[in-house]
Amino acid sequence: MSAVMITRKVRKWEKLPGKNTFCCDGRVMMARQKGVFYLTLFLIVGTCALFFAFECPYLAIHLSPTIPVFAVVLFLFVMAMLLRTSFSDPGVLPRALPEEASFIEMEIEAANGNVPAGQRPPPRIRNVQINNQIVKLKYCYTCKIFRPPRASHCSICDNCVDRFDHHCPWVGNCVGKRNYRFFYLFTLSLSLLTIYIFTFDIVHVVMQNHAGSFLISLKMCASTVLEVLVCFFTLWSVVGLTGFHTYLISLNQTTNEDIKGSWSGKNRVQNPYSHKNIMKNCSEILCGPTYPSVLDRRGVMQDDSPSLTTPATPSSTSDSTVPQTTKPTAPLIPNEQTPDDAKPSIAASTEISTSLTEEGEESAAHRVPPLASPETDAEASIAKAAAQ
């Protein structure tokens, strides 16, 4: 038996480091643990199904048909926001390629100078001044980059995320720059939906038992009891969460910064990102530009994997993940697309030369040994604990 190198075309998401799971050939990106997300889906869909099945017919006839219509619209909006939050790239920063990593290492060594043997080198921190405030950029040992301001490394997903808010197990994904507004709209619309269902459940009970005594009014069908229970407990948590995030948005802070007390005001530290105006802060986050993903998931690359089988022709390794319509000069560096976009990437002819270099780097990236010890990130785990 001889070892041969089989070159096959794979999508880049198959080779991405980090602990994410990908679906629909790289279009959907989530965290590894999805159990709580399925619970969220079940609770929302189940409660709404009971409401539509048991309450809505009565309410449509006795009150108004617009009540179920509005409930349907609200339910669809909630589901759209939930799926958008869960399935999109939160703003993951791709890890540094070997050249960039070694360039940064050289800069660090130059900055630190000669460290005497036996002494620990100083922590890898870069100071930048943002709006007359000194902000420390920390070095990420896993991603081998100096994290941009407001970025943080999520230990659950093992990625650096830009404008990291928190890792939410309920949506099964990190909440970061790209999906924060969807997350906020999800909590807001879910609060409205919960209040709506709760209110009309009570209205339904009151109306149905209007003539009877208190004891009779307690006679509610099982579905109503279930809905009221779910809504009651959901109300406190989701409405509270919406209120908390409204507060954060008005101050232009992230959950991560709030927990760490980065801009709490002691030592005269102010938030350099805040516009000092609630309306401006809100509009920046909710009506700001939609940032595209910089994590190339659906680009195609060559994968040189050794195989201990008898030599096989490359064409026979027909990969199920690679569509047959992929051209040989398929782009390795396509233009960025939004995560739910089904349009194929556009090839750029002059980038073929860089694409050849990219291939070498991509495969080499996995063979480079770690340059330093991995960092145990406490901040992400604190954020996770707080979000649960």
Binding site: P148, G288, L295, D296
Partner: protein
């Protein structure tokens, strides 16, 4: 333009990747995408400072245009929210449109300015918007160095492999 393109491909076949220079982000005005205009010393012998400054300034202005929070972004945001963001399946966002413009601009700059000087600009989007990567190539067409030394194993093995076959 076709002649410059052919020259670029010609150069690629006998060029070896020597070095990479990284232009870092400039965070002095916040987290908006902006790159430092400081001229890297490694490019001192390769190109004029003014041309480099012009490239970075234009890129910065494109990114500022993409991230501008004004009337158009509000309209886009409100319209998208009203349709539960499904409209983005059909329409391109403003940011994506500007990224396409940037991609075209970088391509044009590579063909006109950087390739003739043995340099190559990489779109920052491919590096997570963290750096502008400028690859510096050494020209080995003249045959001044022996084939074995010019095709040493390095991270640019793909390029040297190309050189080796010639």
């Amino acid at each position: 333009m076709a002649t410059e393109f052919d020259n670029f491909h010609e150069m690629r076949h006998c060029a070896l990747l020597a070095n990479k220079v990284f232009i870092q982000r400039d965070y002095s005005q916040g987290t908006a995408c902006r790159f430092q205009t400081k001229f890297p010393l490694e490019l001192n012998s390769r190109m004029e400072q003014a041309l480099f400054a012009e490239t970075v300034k234009t890129l910065n202005s494109y990114y500022a245009e993409a991230e501008e929070i004004g009337g158009q972004s509000y309209l886009e945001g409100c319209l998208a929210c009203a349709t539960a963001y499904i409209i983005f399946l059909c329409l391109e966002t403003r940011y994506e449109k500007v990224l396409k413009k940037i991609s075209g601009y970088i391509q044009e700059q590579n063909e006109k300015i950087y390739a003739p000087r043995g340099l190559l600009l990489t779109d920052p989007t491919e590096r997570g918007m963290r750096v502008i990567e400028i690859s510096v190539f050494e020209d080995h067409c003249s045959g001044s160095s022996s084939p074995s030394s010019s095709c040493n194993g390095s991270s640019s093995s793909a390029m040297s492999g190309d050189c080796g076959t010639r």
